[in-house]
Every structure is written in C-alpha cells, then in structure tokens.
Symmetry: C2
Subunit: 542 residues, 2 copies
C-alpha cells in the first residue's frame, strides 16, 4: 500500500522558485571578471534564469542536451545553474584549469551543444573551438558592448544579448526527478577523465543534507562565500543550499587572492565561507602582517585536501573562527563527512578535541561508509586499522557517464580510492590513497605518515614514500628525498630519525636522494612518474 502524500518530484527549479517567493529580496553579490561588484536579489536571479530557459528553448535544445560553462563564481553562472538544469538540460561545468586539449576532449565526450565562458577564458576557447565538434553556440558571459571583436570564434554572442531579449515568463517543466541535471568530470590521474552525472533528486537531497547544523549549518541569517569554485562539483552544492535556506550568497569571481577574499568577507558581512587550504593560506598570509581581523566570519568548512593543524589553530585561536574539516569527492556531489563534534566531546580538553578535528569527520545522513581489506572484508572501527574506504548513498555515483571505466561499484559500494581509519565514534581519517599505500606482509603502511615524518627533519625539503617489490613482504617502503639547499643528510641519519616514531616494520628500508620529485599542475607529487624514474632500483638485500 502506498502512502497518500503529494507526488512532487524533487526538481532544481523548485529551489529557485522557493528562493524567489520566500526570500525574494535576499542578496546575491558577485565580484565580476570586470573587477567591479555586482549585486542583485534571488528575485532578479529567478527572473533571469527564466530568460535563460527561454533562450535555450529558442536554440532548439532538447531535454538532456548539455550546456557547458567555463566560468568563475558569479551571478551569470548562478543563472545558468538554474536556467539550464531547471529547463531539463544538463549543466556541464568544465574546470578551466585543465589543459586546453583536455577541455576539448571533455567537451566532445560530453557532446556539449553550447559553451558559456567568462572572458578570462577567451584564449582557451580560441584555442579549442575548432576541435569542439558538437558545440553549436559560443556565448561570452558579458554585456553586448564587451563582446570581443575578431575573436575568430564563429557566431560568438554576448550572454546579455543572447538571453536579455527573451521573456522572463516561463513555466518550469515537471519531469522524473532522476533525470540528469548536471555533470562534472574528475581530473583522473590515469586515463581519460570520467564524468559524474548528477540528478535533480541527488542534488536536492544533497542540498537538504548540506544545510544541516552538523554539515554547513546554513540559515536565512547567513551570508555565504563559496571560494570553492562553481566549476568544481557545483561549489560543494552551495548555490543550491543557499537558495534552499534563503542565505545571502557572495560570489568571489576570479578574485581568490588573500586581499580580494578578505575585502569581500568584510564588505558583505560573510558569516560562513568554504574553500581549500591553499586559499585560506593566502588569506591568512594577507591578514597577519597587517593585523587584520574578521568582523563577521563565524565558521569555515575546509576540504579538498587535509587541513594543516596550524591552520585550524590559527582560525580558531587567533581569529575566533570555527573550522570544520570536511571530505568528499566529485563522485559524491561532493559531501561525505564533516568533522563536527558530538555531545560527548563537549567535556573534552582543547587538545583532545583538536585530535578529533584533524580527522575528516563523520558521515552525513545519506552517506554510509565502511573500510575493507583487499578481499572486501569489513574492518573494525577502532581508529587504528586502516582499509579501503567505500561509500554508498543517493548522491553517490553508481557509474560514470557513457559507462566509462565499467562498473565501479563493489557489491553496491563505491570505492573512493582513499585509505582511511574510522574510530568507534564514526570519525573517519584519510591515511593514504589506495594506490599509494604500501602493503607489506599483509599489513598496510601509510605513505603519508612516512612522508610527514621525513619533512619534519630539518634537512628535508620534500619526501615521497613509495612501495618497492620485495620477494618476502610483497612490498617494502622506501623514501625518496630532496634535501634542502646546502643541507647535509645521510641515509643512516634519516632512518635513525624514524626510530621511536614509527613501528619498526613501518620504517622505510632505504632512502634515495634525488634532485627533484615530479609534481602535477596542482602541486601534488606524481608518484607514477616517480616510480618510472626508479626503474631498475632494487631494495637493499634483494
């Protein structure tokens, strides 16, 4: 027997309709590519999103056709979030930091029909448009009088000329809530990028969950600054969660430097900000020498990579801002865990609480997680045992766009590619990437632990720990080290340095000194490239 509640699909259009109706005069403030500040309201945004929907209808775009963006966080991008998905098309946000060749590959793979881009990215579009066989319309996110002349891009139109002439009357269509709403390609360290294809249902469930007190804690009294980009996993869903709650939305455009972010935080009385550690490091570096303070900021969620303890301490103790560690993935819409404390932790000492805050946090309702060994057996939640982290839930992918990469699931669970511990209270801590962890005689050794200890040595500039084949133990760790300029350090010195800090079997078997460790575009060490350079290396005694 079915219940007798109203059948109302969970659709992205209902978010912007709700924001217009119930929070019509709440503000959306954007720093534009032009450098100035633009401000308007949810009512204005809703009106213009409907114009976008009419403009897409006029282009003849079918249901589920893809509309791509190459854009910063700004109000026009926000309008596309709603106009494209709300009218039944799929918003494809492309990361402009990728190599242009990769961008063209992605646009072709997604079969994008339209590409909307900020003028900052004109050179990219100029270099790739001839290779994007499916894109029929190029739209520059600018006023008509800013449209570049002789760009070489066929039929280039300005966004304002394109959508501005259309009616702002539009009835959002109703359809299956499982329909695709938006997509995002993972950068993928190996092989071609693969796309997560979100649905209206997954987006709305994620939006509800993301605004919960133990997640981002958003209310109509907040002013929210997503420094995390709208071209990367929908800015952690913030453009949806703010519409759901009626919070003020502050969009930083291309101004991600410390000074620009600080000015926006202060001018717009931002209470909540979300970003990656690099951005917050730039902000703190800007503030400290000048003795600047926050007058409104209350809390920040930090994700993307592990947050250095010193940063958590600085935010909390020097600036009175609560820092929440979070973890997620493109494949998870992205939120999986947030590190908010429980009732029982309130009586702990500051130091004890800090040790919890360094973890990536506990699962949000809607995300289930577990750790397993290589045979898929579930491992205990004791805070020490680490295993492959698997997740499942209604905003976790079940497969990639076009089936690329085959069926990624293991018995219905998505393998995150991370290795983690989970403690008895359900707090998860990433210890390594699955491909980097060293498997020695059935025990796992975290490459990150080995590296963190190495760089704590005063003579070490950079260190990478990798596993090397071993006849008895399968793998044994070695540490590859770049010394600081002029520093003296022997193999024996460094191995002795590990004693008492790691269990004996976790200490590397060898130290290899090199001039440099290969790095990727985002500054991450490329261990696959590093391993290639170690071809022919043999562990001592083998």
């Amino acid at each position: 027997m079915l219940g007798l509640m109203q059948n109302q699909p969970l659709l992205i259009s209902s978010l912007i309709e709700f924001a217009e109706r119930h929070h019509g005069d709440a503000e959306i403030v954007s720093r534009r590519v032009e450098g100035d500040i633009h401000r308007y309201t949810y009512r204005d945004a809703a009106r213009r999103a409907r114009q976008v929907a009419n403009a897409l209808d006029t282009l003849g775009l079918a249901f589920s056709d893809r509309v791509a963006t190459l854009a910063w966080n700004g109000y026009r991008h926000f309008e596309l979030y709603y106009g494209v998905s709300g009218s039944g098309r799929v918003l494809h946000t492309i990361n402009p930091r990728l190599h242009p060749e990769q961008i063209a590959w992605i646009a072709n793979h997604a079969e994008d029909q339209v590409l909307c881009f900020d003028l900052s990215f004109l050179p990219i579009v100029q270099s790739i448009h001839a290779h994007c066989s499916t894109i029929r319309h190029f739209i520059a996110l600018c006023d008509a009088d800013r449209l570049p002349q002789d760009s070489g891009i066929p039929n280039l139109q300005s966004y304002e000329a394109w959508m501005g002439g259309h009616s702002d009357r539009y009835s959002w269509p109703s359809f299956d809530e499982n329909s695709a709403s938006s997509m995002c390609y993972t950068s993928g360290t190996t092989g071609h990028p693969k796309a997560a294809l979100y649905s209206h249902r997954s987006t709305l469930l994620h939006a509800y969950a993301s605004a919960l007190p133990d997640v981002m804690g958003l209310s109509a009294r907040d002013s929210v600054l997503p420094v995390v980009p709208m071209f990367h996993v929908n800015a952690w869903g913030i453009p949806y969660a703010t519409a759901l709650t009626g919070a003020k939305l502050v969009l930083p455009g291309p101004g991600l430097d410390g000074k620009s972010v600080y000015e926006l935080l202060e001018a717009e009385k931002v209470t909540y900000a979300a970003g990656v550690p690099t951005v917050w490091q730039m902000l703190l570096s800007h503030m400290k020498p000048q003795g600047l303070r926050f007058s409104s900021l209350q809390r920040t969620v930090i994700g993307g990579s592990a947050c250095p303890p010193a940063m958590i301490t600085a935010f909390r103790e020097d600036y009175g801002v609560e820092v929440l560690h979070a973890w997620g993935m493109t494949e998870m819409s992205p939120l999986g865990t947030v590190c908010t404390l429980k009732n029982k932790h309130q009586a702990l000492s500051d130091e004890e609480r800090m040790s919890i805050r360094l973890k990536q946090g506990r699962a949000i309702f809607g995300v289930d997680m577990k750790i397993v060994d290589d045979a898929g057996q579930e491992l205990p939640w004791d805070g020490r045992t680490f295993g492959n982290l698997l997740v499942r839930g209604p905003w976790v992918v079940r497969e990639y766009f076009k089936g690329e990469g085959g069926d990624p699931l293991q018995d219905g669970w998505f393998p995150t590619g991370d290795v983690a511990t989970i403690d008895a209270d359900g707090f998860m801590q990433i210890t390594d990437r699955s491909k980097d962890v060293i498997k020695s005689g059935g025990e796992w050794i975290s490459s990150i632990d080995v590296e963190n200890l190495a760089v704590a040595h005063p003579a070490v500039a950079m260190a990478a720990c990798v596993g090397m084949p071993h006849p008895k133990w399968d793998e044994r760790p070695i540490v590859v080290v770049v010394k600081k300029p002029g520093a003296e350090l022997s193999r024996e010195d460094l191995l002795a340095f590990y004693e008492g800090k790691l269990a004996k079997w976790q200490i590397p078997d060898d130290v290899v000194f090199v001039e440099a460790i290969p790095l990727g575009a985002t500054g991450k060490m490329l261990k696959t490239r590093l391993r290639e350079t170690l071809k022919g290396y043999k562990l001592p005694g083998t």
Copy 2:
C-alpha cells in the same frame, strides 16, 4: 536521460541503521509509566527494533498491515516506530485522549491487526477490545511480570515476552519509498476522523527539513525533549530527526506536569524542547514561584496553537531561551512554517522583532503556501489581506485513507482550513479558522481578533465571536460573552470598548450574554454547538 547516481530508496529503516552505526552510544532516556527513568542507546534501540520486526514476521503480518499504539513518549514506542515501519508495516498511532468509542471506530476503520498500549490505557482497551473486530493481538508495553491478570482482554501479552525472545538479527527489507509507513487520524470537529497516511519518502524528506537550522536546528550536540506526543503526528517528526542527527533523545512518558518536565530538562541537560503552549504554561508556573532556572535549555519550538506573547517574552527575557513559533497540521507531517528571522531582521529593535515572532513563520523548503479568496484567486502578501491558506509539498496529503472526504485538493493545493495573512517577507500569520471567519459584505472579519479584544475587558471571562445571517451584508459578527463572577457589564459598555480598537465595520453588531460556552475535550470552544444554542436569534434591525 537519467542521472547516474545510486538508486537508494528513502526508507525509515535507514534512519535507525544510521543512528546505530554512527551514533551507537548516543542516549535515549525515557520516563516510564512505572515512574522510573530508563536509559539506553541508539544501538540498543536498533537491536530491539529488529526484534520487533522479527516478532511481527512471526505473527504473520503482511506488508502494509497496520499496528496500532496507544502510548506515551517512551523507548518502547520508539522501537515500534522503527520495527513496524522499517519492516514494511504501517504504524498507526492513536490519540488516547479521544473518546473510547472513537478509538474503537478508528481502530476498525484502520483495520488494525495489533494494538500495543501503555498500562495507563488499560481501562480504555478493556472497554473497547470487544468492539475492535480486526485486532488479533493485544500487547501491553511492559515487562512480563507486570502483565495484568484477569484483564478480560483475550490473549494479552507483555511486550517484553512478545518481542524479547526473538532474534536481534534482521535484514531491513528494501521497497518503494512511496510505501505507507504510518498513519494518524485527525480529530475532525465534524464527521468521522480522517487519516493522513504518511510514506517513507515523506517521512525522510520531512526529517531532513525538520533538522535544518531554520527549523528545529538539530545536531549531534543536542539533547532533545519532545513534550509533544508521539501519538500525535509522530511528535512533530522528532523521533526521526534525532536519529538522523544523532541527537540525544529524552522522552517524558506520562509526566507532562511542570515539575516532571523541569526535572527531566535539568537532569538530561536538554538543549531543545518542543511542545504546545499549555505544557509550557505548566512548566513556567512550576518554576516561577521557586525561582528555578534552566541550566541547559537553549531553544523551544511552540506549536499546536498560537503562543501567547507573554510566554514568548518570559522564555526569552526571564530565562534566556529562544522561542520559535511554528505551525503545521496532521495533514502536513506536520511542519509547515517556523518563525525564524532573516538576515534583514537582525538590525531591528526588540519590539519590531517581537511583532514578527508572534507570526507563525515562514515556509520551510518543501512546503509551498499561498492565500486565496473564496473564488480561489491568489491574494497579495502584504501582511494585512487575509484569505484561505493553501499548501502543497511532498509531505502534504493528497487524499485521506480510503478516500474518506473525497478529493480534498484545490488545483493540487491542500486547503488548511485556516485563514491567514502573509507579509512581504513570507511570514504567515493565522488570523482565524475558515469556518469561523465572518464574511461581511465581501470583507472578512477575524473572529479571533474580536474575541481577544473582548477578553481584554476586565469583566469578561470568556468570549466567542460568530457570524449571523444578514440580509444585506451576508453575515455580521456578534460576540457571545460569559461575564466574570460578580462583574457588571452591559451590551453598550462592551461595544464602546471596541471603538478605536477595530475598524467600525469589524465591531460586532450585538453582544449576547450566556452562562457558559460549550467546550470540547481539549478546551477549545465548540462554535458549532454554540450556534445551535443561538437558533432563533436575530440580529438587531433585521
């Protein structure tokens, strides 16, 4: 094209599984009918809910079969919430305050197979069991050694004997999230009661929404006391929202008097409590003479009926507790609006904020609302115009159980039976019930406004305003008054008292003095009965 996120139905069983896995040691504390305090954890509750599921399987109950409860807020009731719905049956919570004949009617109409009841309600069950033709199993929520002897109830079992012997291993079944999960009959002032039939989907969406910062704002650091009963619209969904967030749950059992509630608030460090004004009045009356304070309570949501301004002020100013006015209905799962302020209100004076706090609040995302005139035309949101309040959303009924009462919807919207204003910021205020509002020459007059002014007169004990037929104006208001013992008051005195306080056309045409006004079981004035006693009355000048 569909999105590629995991297909995971929204099921009530996932709440208790999540709570067990991620908040296993968070507490559930109950005051028992026996008078003592019982405490255990979500882990224990989850285990026992699985035993209940196995016990129901053994009884041979089919999917969607109804299991009724007559019970206070307590841990066994909590286990039934999950064991019954989680295993695919429908939990039918019956209001024990109804007349026993009505309870029997409801049990028969719902075709309940099992009735679980607290021993407080043994006399009710003794008086009705012979008339409940579908109930095959009577279960007293007590230990085996407390089971009453010679109760006259056939095959009466104790809950502990019934479920205690079953395995605590059970795989919650997966099924359509639109399946019925639970039901609640409205008390219905006219005709037979009608039942709202909730689904797993509606319950989970409501649970997400209810925990939002602008709704109940629940986190794993909260200790939550629902004084609002689990036999009435699922205690506003709190037993689900606490599992979703991992909050501590404190269940008051039958102890709703001021002393019992106060002791529980303090002993269990309750941070959040929800109830109706009557209960809070008892609490404040207990505290004031003794100069008692709250040591942990931070906020309370008040609904069920309008909260007197003096109570809001007392909680806020005398006790430092934030009071949130809320509004909902059995047909709405029940939450519709909560009165949390917006960003723009933070700069207002205390007085201005108070005028907002008296309103029932603004819509939660998931509930859409509008006011319309009798022709169904939408009315403006100006805070003055009032009209019939209509709502829609995924946790609002589309029809009643067994189609009773026909199709209640108007163009897809559910008519609440309330008359309300909505202001430009979306804050709704109930001004009357649709059946009580007086329609005079196309203008509507709030009976509540007329009554509130009458009882402000020092000589008036009770007042009811009703509309009387008028040849020119359709209806005109009169006020029916019970004088305070020994007080002197003339018709002219009271009519003069209205001058300057209401517009001339809103002032009643007449005053009728009576000895008593008929009241219902819950203390509400029965205007239909009152109108019968006024049969033959004629307005002056008609």
